[in-house]
Symmetry: D2
Subunit: 398 residues, 4 copies
């Protein structure tokens, strides 16, 4: 099959962020090209123009398209002939800069893949939503854990009714790396994540609880009604929360819990989802992503492994696999699945075809808005000792 | 060493409850004699006098001491010569009967090992506490999960400061057996547990969340301040809660969560404790009780196995083991450890020696009171949409 | 139900061995009475008459029946009235003494439960077999791992054809406790196990590989044809093997491997069985005994948990459970299942009823013979660099 | 840092094989470019010239460099200017074609990354070794499991003496996908692997046991002396072995076992290594590749997670990581590590610098020879009922 189907060419990518010391920039660059459906051809790799240009060889970006700023990049790329011009911009910068970059990119006509949390606050997110809705751009948000094949399998199973009516959702995201006050040392990752001016109103809950919440929503599709949240800062002197737990009432009566920690010693990146339905329950854990446990009373516990050829796999789950079972897939591949799904839409756009914008396989601008609403309401509820606040945003997709 | 040390004889036990269809009566009878330190010599095995007597051969209780009622048993045993008379009474009946039986037994001069939750409500528990305090009786409550060697190891490690200051406690108790409305069929276990007249104000939270809460308290010793709780009944028509989650503020600022479920498909008896301290974190899970994971940033994850001979084991942990490592111990042995610890006190009492009554290794009447307070406040908080209520009871031990 | 059914009384047990420092004596004493179907009433607890008598209070054995020797015990017990006399003798002494004790006990008319390996060498085993066959005694060998409910479940599943034709059997038993030359210190358990005069021709292979081999045979019923074995002694100066691996050709063409180690650092008691059939494969591991994994191509992996109420449990598996699922059972209960199964036969014998002697649920004298043949052939094959030797003994049961 | 250091450009790759239906071709293509250090610019994607050219768009290979045959490719590439010409050829074709292609590529001056087993038989392997030794080519063999960070960590730990002297090595590779006679249906992967004309003298042992053997050798560096092997064909009518087990005597007295299966129901790709040393033991399992268990008597079991920042990680292990701990890496990344390590050598060669050819981090032509010797001796030993045969090849690296 030709690359990107009828489009018959690779998509052209620009990276914003990713200069030296960046973790997530390299992840985006790797994931984006994993399937050979895109090429990284341009970038504004740092907010510092000199560093931006100096980082280009790391990514094999030609000097001519190593821009000193996003504005320069958007202007010059738009001046290129259509068959050279970039198709999309990946935004891999600290939270507080997402809005401006993403908005400018969409307004310049490009598709965007934006890191999460999507913006600095809800107001920005809602404004960005309007901009995207007024455009024809494909807009994805890198809630990368939704890209794991078994997460998509879980989503398809819930949609198929395999779990019955959902009663309870328990999600968690447990880390330990911020157990000490790392932001006082020269650790860039820690520094901006614990700085309210760069990270936003929440620390732990903005950085990782949003992922966990999104995962529960992505898999079950249940609409939330209200949230009660308790944030804590356990490392003395830290400016933002590093631990918290929230309870969510869903529209259908289900009860949800979201727990996130950055201060649990030795815990690495333990994203976990447990879902209890009237017909079956399921459990998936990111650190062992090629397995999902499905249980029903009276039956053996069943371990669904990521197996593209197994009869039990749904179409959605199987399509997200690249390797046969037993050949583990992991973080990069899941991340790449968010890209891959959005490429289908980008190719359609480039071909002048219609494509779904709201009910997408990849997390989108609507999910981005909902994530910011989640962060805002968590912080507000926590400030009032866990008072119940609404959580159903008008833009939330079912 | 002679049996029960200087006492140099087995302790004599009477069982209340345990007639046909009982699960927990058999567990008490098995656990009590596992170490050959006690003999089951008498019983009032059912509230129905005829069934009580008919059940005696199951336990090899001689006809003469197979009583038709508790009152008869206490009276006749007290009439026996001291060297034949029972030493203690094990109460293995439904919740609503515990108070009367336990109180009578203590007042009759006997030691008591009482099932949990200790009474039907807090008022009974507080009254029973007074009775026990006014007596010289040994009074244990069968929060059996505290008897696992690695739970005691965890307690000792926290006391030793190995985990540092505790910031977070997450306990859960997840089951699935009440996923369907089993109480409508002829299932005795389900019937009384879901009947407010027999079980008390809470279902799931009285039956199992109390265990989970007790475990967190037992291991960390942290005193609670307030609780906010959300109970749910997911099986239509059920009279009591079958799911819930609670958040606890501890005196030292730590945050706790307690989650319990009886409606999670295929989940069996998943009691789990996670504790985050400033120096290390730990995780223990009842279904795999011979392992505990201790983690600290920068170090390999450490699996502490139940190994009485390992240098890393504390005295408290090692003393609770019966077998070398790799020879798994399980539910009965843990249950028997509650008995074994109380036997030391019973032997001391029989010898006229002093013994600790509040800060005991085994769960005691103070813990029983606290458990009932927990249940009461959970139900009350849940009825008010999770309002924060006090949780520190005056009787709670540190 | 009355104790031991129509027999309507407890069986009376004598323990040989078990004096201070013994591990396995206490295990026998605990397992034997776990179900309240037997009472320990007599003993010859040590080969040293004084120590034998001094150990009696540990077991609550009355002074009058604390004998100074096995001969004395057998004689005096036989002189007691039938309603006081012991029913059976448990032999929990070092290997080299089993034969004489067990033979004498059978000849004196008692049933025997004998530790494994059954005798010092094959000749003794074959002679003992004749003695047992010439008697009406119930004779069990404590291959205790066969008592695990899921091991019996596996056996029933193979017999039912759930696995299809068996092609491969992989069993292992990995320990690490003899990694250092423990026998040079004052460690009784290590001392006799590494002494050819007490342990027999093999060390590791006599002590633990026999268990692993027996387990494979017990579950599959496949008859062996030939064996090739390689033993090693990795701890310098040790007199017997502490590591080895054997390959077995089975009658039906299946290939078996048996690996055993006492020198694998940190490994505790890792008895594992893997079986490959044409319809399904299974895996069971003693250190996590409440789970068994059953796999078939194209299906989710299935974890069979020990659940007496689950539809997937066979009658044989369910009958070996004492607790509901999720309430773990372990080593003592498995050991007790060997006792419990033999009690049915003992009760039948006492009632003058017929009972199965060869195809028993519990490991018996035939298995004991086969175990000694296994040890003999392993040692002989290893001495000739792994030459193939016959392994099918005439007495082996299918 | 510039791409490939001082070379300051991407390496140019040609792929042989990988046409439609290929699994491993896509793996090579993905792994080779994962780090952005190489570009796939040419290919001879099938032995069928038309299909070769038709497959080029799948890989985004320009038409001009989509060759109809290897010979054509080598000739035309050599005719290109040096700054366009390929640097290396990846050979991803069935076994029987490796030799001719690899030899031609080396003789044409190119570096080679060749699939395993390296050739059809040992004679070819030895001849290829001579050709490589007579050239300046970098030659890697894709024993991809050596690329896992924790495998390299294990290698470094053994070299550092952390495990002490090695006594035992147990490796296995268990699969189930050939449980049925898949080669009779239209399954390309199964067809050539079970065809002696395409696969070579061994089936299961050539395809997967070679990986397991190589892994043990790679980690421990122990030199083998002799092997005894038993191969079986359990699926009726199959032309090659689908199961087997081998025992290896190592020079230092250690005992090794290699077990491989393609007929174990539901087993996926279970490559496992267990190593027993005098100071510690270790266990690693490919299906959960981000963990390795290290054990020592008296210490908690230690789970080493793949953590590039952990103090316990060796330089070799840490250098093989791309992501922080908890962000799982898997099959592609390990495969890419073989490429990455060989790129260092290729860049050195291109710069006219010297580079290591025998004691490389990546598996090389010496390992390829040894693998073929392993296959040859396994088959020969098995044909003689497991006779011991030499296994130390003169070319084997320590």
């Amino acid at each position: 099959m030709a690359t990107n189907g009828d489009l018959n060419r690779k998509l052209r990518m620009a990276l914003v962020g990713g200069g030296s010391g960046s973790f997530i920039g390299r992840v985006h660059a790797t994931a984006a090209v994993l399937d050979n459906r895109a090429a990284l051809v341009a970038g504004a790799l740092s907010s510092n123009p000199e560093r931006a240009k100096a980082s280009a060889p790391d990514y094999d970006i030609p000097e001519a398209r190593a821009y000193g700023s996003v504005a320069e990049m958007l202007e010059k790329e738009n001046a290129l002939p259509e068959d050279q011009r970039i198709d999309f911009v990946s935004v891999a910068t600290p939270n507080f800069t997402h809005f401006e970059i993403a908005k400018a990119a969409v307004e310049a006509g490009f598709n965007v893949i934006c890191d999460k949390p999507m913006t600095f606050d809800l107001a920005q997110a809602e404004e960005l939503l309007k901009v995207v809705e007024g455009s024809s751009a494909v807009f994805a948000v890198s809630h990368n854990y939704t890209g794991y094949p078994l997460v998509r399998q879980a989503r398809a199973m819930v949609q198929n009714g395999d779990l019955g009516e959902i009663n309870a959702i328990r999600v968690q995201y447990i880390q330990g790396w911020l157990r000490s006050k790392l932001e006082d040392s020269d650790q860039k990752q820690a520094a901006w994540r614990t700085d309210p001016k760069k990270s936003g109103a929440a620390g732990c809950f903005g950085d990782i609880a949003t992922h966990a919440y999104n995962l529960g929503r992505y898999i079950t599709g249940l609409l939330p009604e209200e949230i009660s949240c308790h944030l804590r800062t356990f490392v003395p002197g830290r400016a933002l929360d590093d631990y918290g737990t929230a309870i969510i009432k869903f529209e259908n009566g289900a009860l949800g819990t979201v727990t996130a920690s950055q201060i649990s010693h030795g815990r690495e990146n333990d994203v976990m989802v447990e879902i209890d339905g009237t017909k079956a329950s399921l459990l998936w854990r990111q650190e062992n992503p090629n397995e999902m446990i499905v249980r029903a009373n009276g039956e053996p516990h069943k371990i669904y492994t990521r197996d593209p050829n197994a009869p039990y796999m749904t179409e959605l789950g199987a399509a997200a696999c690249r390797l046969p079972s037993g050949h583990p897939e992991a973080f990069f591949e899941a991340f790449a699945n968010v890209y891959r799904s959005s490429y289908d839409a980008m190719a359609a756009r480039a071909l002048g075809q219609s494509f779904e914008k709201k009910d997408t396989i990849y997390p989108n601008v609507y999910d981005g808005v909902e994530g910011m609403y989640f962060v805002q309401q968590c912080v507000a509820s926590s400030q009032e000792n866990g008072v119940w606040l609404p959580l159903k945003h008008a833009a939330a997709r079912r």
